[in-house]
């Protein structure tokens, strides 16, 4: 349907809270199908960086979809792991989008993507040690203050480790939560990719993960490569179906966490809507089989000293 013929939805009637259902990453390729067929899907997520223009079709479509479905913003450009100040222009644009679309959830990555003004468009790894933790804590606090809301931070997929790391990823994330009051976004595919690449047990990692702070789960497909020794090196490619091993980790997570909003990320080799929708329904079936998790009260903004159990 031409963009000019979309019947505007009456905004304000759709609940903005993200339900404990399956959602998908919203792609421009699917705008029209979604508006024409009104699929029964729980929610959508977008990268705010794709909606930082002043106007045009992207905002037009997103406004219509956000009027019909709950929306989550998932940033890829704030570079909270960088050893430099947050980019004021960038966080102001995030604030404007947060106010314009009032998303049910707002998340970012435990990663850096900018250095000396250059933006690398990739989620680069952070060593797990005290000085980087202090930096990330400062940046998460600043971002939460600026947006006047709690954000979720996602566990990364990593390909290398740092000799200088002094703590585990889980300890780093637990301390971050304790010092900022942020929540966590648990990406089960990242767990599998990182565990394979770093030779640790993903099941043990998930058993230790502080699921009580998880506000959202991500699932995606990975690609296979080989490292210098010819052993598996998995790439977080977001270009195919979720692997069976990752579905198993998802089951393991849900058994501990109860029903948590779950997103299918598929950003490359984007499939037809029906295939993406079917993948989301696979997660939805698992969520429906669970009792709804007792809702944790949203902590007040920016708690300086949140207890970690």
């Amino acid at each position: 349907m031409p963009i000019s013929q979309i019947t505007p939805a009456s905004s304000g009637t759709t609940p903005k809270e993200i339900p404990p259902r399956a959602g998908v990453g919203l792609k421009a390729e699917h705008y029209q199908t979604i508006l024409e067929t009104a699929p029964d899907i729980g929610w959508f997520e977008v990268h705010p960086e794709n909606y930082m223009g002043a106007g045009g079709p992207p905002h037009r479509y997103l406004s219509e979809i956000a009027a019909r479905y709950p929306l989550s913003l998932h940033g890829v450009g704030a570079s909270i792991g960088a050893d430099k100040s947050l980019d004021t222009d960038h966080i102001n644009r995030l604030k404007a989008l947060n106010e314009r679309y009032a998303p049910g959830l707002f998340s970012e990555h435990l990663a850096w993507s900018s250095h000396d003004e250059v933006f690398f468009n990739d989620l680069l790894p952070v060593p797990y040690r005290q000085d980087s933790l202090d930096r990330v804590v400062d940046h998460v606090n600043q971002l939460q203050d600026h947006l006047s809301r709690r954000i979720l931070i996602e566990n990364p997929s990593v390909y290398v480790a740092f000799e200088s790391s002094t703590m585990s990823e889980i300890t780093f994330l637990e301390r971050l939560v304790a010092r900022t009051g942020c929540g966590l976004l648990l990406d089960c595919n990242n767990v599998y990719v990182s565990a394979t690449n770093q030779n640790y047990d993903p099941v043990a990692y998930l058993d230790a993960f502080p699921v009580e702070h998880v506000g959202e789960i991500h699932l995606a497909g990975f690609a296979r490569d080989e490292d210098d020794e010819g052993e598996p090196l998995l790439i977080d490619a977001h270009d195919r179906e979720v692997a069976d091993a990752v579905w198993a980790l998802y089951d393991q997570t849900l058994a501990r966490s109860g029903a948590v909003p779950t997103l299918i990320e598929w950003d490359n080799n984007i499939p037809d809507w029906d295939i993406l929708f079917a993948e989301a329904m696979r997660a939805e079936d698992k969520l429906r089989a669970l009792p709804t998790r007792l809702k944790e009260p949203e902590p007040d903004l920016i708690l300086g000293h949140r207890h970690v159990s």
Partner: protein
Amino acid sequence: MSASPSLHTGQASFSSALIKPDHPTPEDVIGPKPEKKAQKRFGVYRNNVIVSLTEAMMASFPTIAALVGEDYFRAMARVYITNHPPRTAILSRYGDQFASFLDGFEPVQAFPYMGDVARIEFAWQEAYHAADQSPLDPTSLQQIPPDRLAELTFTLHPACRLLASPYPAYSIWAAHKQDAPQETMASLPQEAEASLITRPQWDVMAIKLPAGGFAFLNALGEGLTLGQAAAVALEAAPAFDFARNLGGLLETGALAGLHLPSIDVKDQREPKPYQDNSANQHHES
């Protein structure tokens, strides 16, 4: 174990190794076990940076990719990315220097129009993401007393972009863009061309400007009055056709508002309502 680099030093060496393949894997970066190397592992990040930025450039410059072929485009993009990495996390704004890069890129000097084709493509990107605003209603000119028409000044639409090229850049772009009809390829003109790229509502459009059209619209954009702009255009091109040019600007929606010292007509910042008004838009008062 050597003393660990500061966070800043570590990220500095990680960064330079990312876009410079001759730089070694950063010192602090290791594999999961002492006997495991990190070279291919680090290579994943190098590859992610180049491939994802190349994809972003392919999306912004599809006609350049069609002109040179995908493999050649990827090779050119790698040189551009290495020398002009993004300064913004907004990828639709990346490539703002690609046109001037092409102007000076030795291997494509036999195709001197290429930079201007890239300028049209980047203007298209900018128009696509520009602020929404209703174009000037063509009938609003009828409210102006005829003896005061020459005093009018105009506001250009926020999506409006102008490009003058010493080459037939518009025709080359139009013949190679994605949905181009094949038969236009054989009959390209050989002269300089100016073009207008804008987005009156939701669809970006590009047109070739008639003689004097660039000077005329450029003068209006600088705030000259209609009378002054027409004089500038006539001086630039004796064949300048005033009625055709003004009619064209109203038709394409390149103008957003008009102003007389005592009368301001329709310079509204609101986008049009979402209903399709094409059937009745000529009857608005």
